[in-house]
C-alpha cells in the first residue's frame, strides 16, 4: 500500500508539535488505525522524534496501533451502564464474536472495544457500533443488532 491519503494529510499540516494529535486523528479516521509506516512518515515530515510520536499514539485511548475490523463496537462501561448491566453485555458480545475486548474478529468484520462513557447514560446500558448508538440493551437483543452489520 502506498498510504497516498496519509501523505496528503501529513503534507497539509504544519511542522509543529501542536499538529501532531490532529494529524494522528485524521490518519486514524482514514485507516481506522495508525499504521507503523505512517507514524515514521509523520515523525520525518513534522520533525518530531518517532519516540515522541509513539508516546502520544500510545497515551490516548482513542488511537489503535493494530488494524481494526470493518465495524468498531464500543461497549460503554460508564457508571450508569455498569450499574445497569453493561459488563454482562460485554461478556455476551465476547461470547457471540468469540473474541476478547480489545481484539478483532478473525474475518476482520468486527473490533470489540470498551469506552468509559459515551454520555448516553439515560438509555443505559448502551453500545456504539460505528456511528450508531444502541440503548436499553439486554443480552438477548445482541444477536439481532449484530445481524444488521455486514
Amino acid at each position: 500500500m502506498e498510504w497516498v491519503k496519509a501523505r496528503e494529510i501529513i503534507s497539509q499540516s504544519k511542522e509543529r508539535q501542536e499538529s501532531l494529535i490532529e494529524v494522528l486523528q485524521d490518519i486514524q479516521a482514514e485507516y481506522s488505525y495508525l499504521p507503523r509506516e505512517v507514524l515514521s512518515q509523520i515523525s520525518w515530515e513534522l520533525k518530531i522524534p518517532l519516540s515522541q510520536v509513539l508516546r502520544v499514539a500510545t497515551f490516548y485511548a482513542a488511537f489503535s496501533l493494530k488494524p481494526r475490523g470493518r465495524h468498531l463496537i464500543n461497549v460503554c462501561l460508564g457508571t450508569a451502564c455498569h450499574v445497569r448491566g453493561g459488563g454482562r453485555i460485554l461478556e455476551k458480545l465476547e461470547r457471540e464474536l468469540e473474541i476478547k475486548s480489545g481484539e478483532a474478529s478473525s474475518d476482520l468484520k468486527f473490533s470489540l472495544e470498551t469506552v468509559r462513557c459515551i454520555g448516553c447514560c439515560s438509555l443505559a446500558p448502551v453500545i456504539r457500533i460505528d456511528e450508531d448508538t444502541h440503548g436499553r440493551l439486554t443480552q438477548d437483543k445482541i444477536p439481532r443488532i449484530l445481524k444488521k452489520y455486514t
Binding site: 508539535q17 497515551f59 482513542a62 461470547r95 439515560s122 440503548g135 438477548d140
Partner: protein, 630 residues
C-alpha cells in the same frame, strides 16, 4: 445568507427573522435529535416525517432541535400549531409519525400520545387557546419539569442548534452586544464575581475571581479555553449543551475573552462526542459569517478567534494543565500548580479555562444581572446546576434545578422513584473523584459544600442512582478499575497505589478478602490522597472511602461471610429457579449459552450449577421473576 451584524438594529432584525422561524405561520414539527434521541430512533422519525410531508405535499415544516431533557421518553417530537399551545409527543416511532401527520391534516390532536402542552416552560399559555386540550398536562406542571429552572439549558430542546437566527431570537448575542458597547471589562468581571457563579466542572472555583487573575496577568497574548472534556462517567450535560445550544457557549467565551483581554480561544471536546463536535463546527462557522467571531466583532475594535480541538480519549485531560498539554500536541500529563494557568497556561501565556456549563451561564448573568442570579441557590452556591439523573431510577434524563434542592426532590419527585419499586440505596455523585451518598442522607440539600461534607463532591453533575441490587464494594472496584486505566502514570503513589487498591477490592469481591483489608484500604487511601500531584490521584480513593464510611457492613459481609448481599459479585452468588414461579416457558433454557438449564416444557426448570457461568441471561429474560440470585 449571512450578513455581518454591526449594530443592535441588525441584531433586532435577525431576532425577528428567528422568531418567525421558531413559530412560523404554519404547522412546524420538531424532532429532538441529540445523541439520546438518535439512539432511540429519532432519525427514523425525522426521515419519515420529512419524506411524508414531501410526498403528500403538506404545507408543514419539519425541523430538529437538541435534547428536551426527558430522555426516558425519547424520541420526543414537538408540534407547533399557529395560535395554539405547542404539544410534545413522547415515545414516537416511524409508524406513529405517519398517523400523527394524518391526524394533523384533519385538524386533530393525538392527545393519547402527548406528554405535555406548551413547549417552553418559560412562556405560560392562556387557557382560552388550550380549549379541548386541558387533559394534556401543562409542561411546567408535570413532575419531571415542575421543580426545574433552566438557565444553562434555556434553549436546549427548543431552538434548532444549526440555526444561529433562532439563538438570536431567544435573546442570543444581545448580552455580547451589551457587554462590548456598554460595559467595561472590569464591570463585567465584577458582575460575574457578584453573581456568585462557580465553576461547573467540578471544583467550584469562583468564576469571576478566576477571570480577574487572568485579566491582571501582564502579557500581550492571553488565551481562553472551554473545557468540553466531560470525562466523568454518568454525566452528559456538556454534551447536551454543545449539541443543543452551541452558541450559548460561544457567546459566553466571547464575553469572557473581552473581559480578560484575550484574542484567541480553544474549545477542547472529547472524541467520544462526535455530534457535539459537528454542531460546534457549524456554530463557529455561522458566528464567523454573521460577524460575531473574527475581526471587529459587532463593528467594534474587539477581535476573537476560536479553534476546536478533539480529545483523544484520556480522562486525565479534563484536568486543566493536562488539557493544555494536549492542545499543545503532547501527552496529557498534569504539571505542578502554581504557577496557575492564569499566570502560565497554554504555551506559557496567561490562560483562563472554564467548563461548558459555566460558559453557558455567562450570557444570562450579563443579561439579567448579578442580583437576579445570586437570588437563586444557597448562601455559597448560587444559581442552578444541571444534573444527569441516571441508573436505577424511573425517569432518567437531564435536569436543571436551583442549588439547594434536596436529593429527595431530585430522586423521588423529578426522578419518580426507584426502578421496579426496589429499595433506594445510594446516589453516586462527582464521578470517579466523588462518592456515594447513602439513603439516610436523602434530605441533603444539594450544593458544593453539602456534597463535600457528605464525603462526595459536586463534580460535573452526574447522579447515578443505586438500588438494593447494586453492590457497593463492586462500585468502589469499578471506579478504581477506571482510574487505574486513566492514571497518566507520572506519580508513583497514583500509578501503583490505585492498582494495589484495585487488587485488594478485587480480592474482596471474589471472596478472597481477609481480616484487616478494610483498614489496609483506608491506610493506602490516605497515602494516595496526600502524595499525588493532581486531582485524579488526590481524589482517587474517594469512592473507596465513602463506600467504607457508609457501607462497612457490606464490605464485612464479603470478607467474613463470603456473601454479596446485593447479588452482584459473581464468585459469591448462584442463580436458582424458583419452582413455584417457573411456568416452564423455556425462554431461559433457549438463551442459556452453556445449556445449563434443563426441564420439560410447562414444568419447572433447573440450573446445573456446574455448567452455569453466571452470565445472568436467565434472570434478564424471565418474565415471571422466577430466577433468583443467592
Amino acid at each position: 445568507m449571512g450578513m455581518k451584524i454591526k449594530t443592535k438594529d441588525d441584531l433586532i432584525k435577525i431576532k425577528e427573522k428567528g422568531l418567525r422561524s421558531i413559530s412560523p405561520d404554519k404547522i412546524k414539527i420538531i424532532v429532538g435529535m441529540a445523541t439520546c434521541g438518535l439512539a432511540t430512533g429519532a432519525l427514523e422519525v425525522f426521515k419519515t416525517l420529512s419524506q411524508e410531508v414531501d410526498k403528500q405535499k403538506l404545507d408543514f415544516i419539519v425541523a430538529q432541535t437538541g435534547c428536551l431533557g426527558f430522555c426516558q421518553r425519547e424520541p420526543l417530537v414537538e408540534v407547533r400549531i399557529p395560535g395554539r399551545p405547542a404539544i410534545i409527543y413522547q415515545e414516537m416511532t416511524a409508524k406513529k409519525s405517519k398517523e400523527l401527520l394524518t391526524a394533523l391534516t384533519q385538524k386533530e390532536i393525538k392527545k393519547e400520545w402527548a406528554m405535555a402542552r406548551s413547549g417552553n416552560g418559560a412562556k405560560p399559555i392562556r387557557d382560552s387557546i388550550s380549549e379541548g386540550l386541558q387533559e394534556i398536562p401543562l409542561y411546567d406542571q408535570i413532575p419531571f419539569f415542575k421543580k426545574q429552572q433552566k438557565i444553562a439549558l434555556r434553549n436546549c430542546g427548543f431552538i434548532d442548534p444549526d440555526n444561529i437566527e433562532e439563538y438570536i431570537a431567544e435573546g442570543g448575542y444581545f448580552s455580547l452586544e451589551k457587554a462590548l458597547r456598554t460595559l467595561s471589562p472590569e464591570k463585567i468581571i465584577n458582575e460575574i464575581k457578584e453573581s456568585g457563579l462557580r465553576g461547573r466542572g467540578g471544583a467550584g472555583f469562583p468564576t469571576g475571581l478566576k477571570w480577574s487573575y487572568c485579566r491582571k496577568a501582564p502579557a500581550e497574548t492571553k488565551y481562553v479555553i472551554c473545557n468540553g472534556d466531560e470525562g466523568d462517567p454518568g454525566a452528559y450535560m456538556d454534551r447536551s449543551v454543545l449539541e443543543g445550544d452551541p452558541h450559548s457557549v460561544l457567546e459566553g467565551m466571547l464575553i469572557g475573552s473581552y473581559a480578560i483581554g484575550a484574542k484567541e480561544g480553544y474549545i477542547y471536546v472529547r472524541a467520544e462526542y462526535p455530534l457535539a463536535i459537528k454542531k460546534l463546527k457549524k456554530a463557529i462557522q455561522q458566528a464567523e459569517e454573521y460577524g460575531l467571531l473574527g475581526e471587529n466583532i459587532l463593528g467594534t475594535d474587539f477581535s476573537f478567534q476560536i479553534k476546536l480541538n478533539r480529545g483523544g480519549g484520556a480522562f486525565v485531560c479534563g484536568e486543566e494543565t493536562a488539557l493544555m498539554a494536549s492542545i499543545e500536541g503532547r501527552v496529557g500529563e498534569p504539571r505542578l500548580r502554581p504557577p496557575y494557568p492564569a499566570e502560565k497556561g497554554l504555551w506559557d501565556k496567561p490562560t483562563n479555562i472554564n467548563n461548558v456549563e459555566t460558559w453557558a451561564n455567562v450570557p444570562v448573568i450579563i443579561e439579567k444581572g448579578a442580583n437576579w442570579f445570586s437570588k437563586i441557590g444557597t448562601e455559597k452556591s448560587k444559581g442552578t446546576k444541571v444534573f444527569s439523573l441516571v441508573g436505577k431510577v424511573k425517569n432518567t434524563g437531564l435536569l436543571e434545578v436551583p442549588m439547594g434542592i434536596t436529593l429527595k426532590e431530585i430522586v423521588f419527585d423529578i426522578g419518580g422513584g426507584i426502578l421496579n419499586n426496589k429499595k433506594f440505596k445510594a446516589v453516586q455523585t462527582g464521578g470517579p473523584s466523588g462518592g456515594c451518598i447513602p439513603a439516610e442522607l436523602i434530605d441533603l440539600k444539594v450544593d458544593y459544600e453539602e456534597l463535600t461534607q457528605a464525603g462526595s463532591m459536586m463534580g460535573s453533575g452526574g447522579m447515578i442512582v443505586m438500588d438494593e441490587n447494586t453492590c457497593m464494594v463492586d462500585i468502589a472496584r469499578y471506579f478504581l478499575s477506571f482510574l487505574k486505566d486513566e492514571s497518566c502514570g507520572k506519580c508513583t503513589s497514583c500509578r501503583e497505589g490505585i492498582i494495589r487498591l484495585y487488587q485488594i477490592l478485587t480480592d474482596i469481591c471474589e471472596g478472597k478478602g481477609k481480616e484487616g483489608d478494610i483498614e489496609l484500604l483506608e491506610d493506602l487511601s490516605s497515602v494516595v490522597q496526600s502524595v499525588s500531584l493532581c486531582g485524579l490521584g488526590g481524589t482517587a480513593p474517594n469512592p473507596v472511602l465513602s463506600t467504607i464510611r457508609y457501607f462497612r457492613d457490606e464490605y464485612q459481609a464479603h470478607i467474613k461471610d463470603k456473601k454479596c448481599p446485593a447479588g452482584i459479585c459473581k464468585e459469591l452468588i448462584q442463580y436458582f429457579i424458583l419452582a413455584d414461579k417457573c411456568t416452564g416457558c423455556i425462554l431461559c433454557a433457549k438463551e442459556c449459552p452453556e445449556k445449563a438449564i434443563s426441564g420439560e416444557r410447562k414444568k419447572p426448570h433447573l440450573i446445573d450449577q456446574k455448567k452455569c457461568i453466571k452470565c445472568g441471561v436467565c434472570f434478564e429474560v424471565c418474565h415471571y421473576d422466577a430466577v433468583e440470585i443467592k
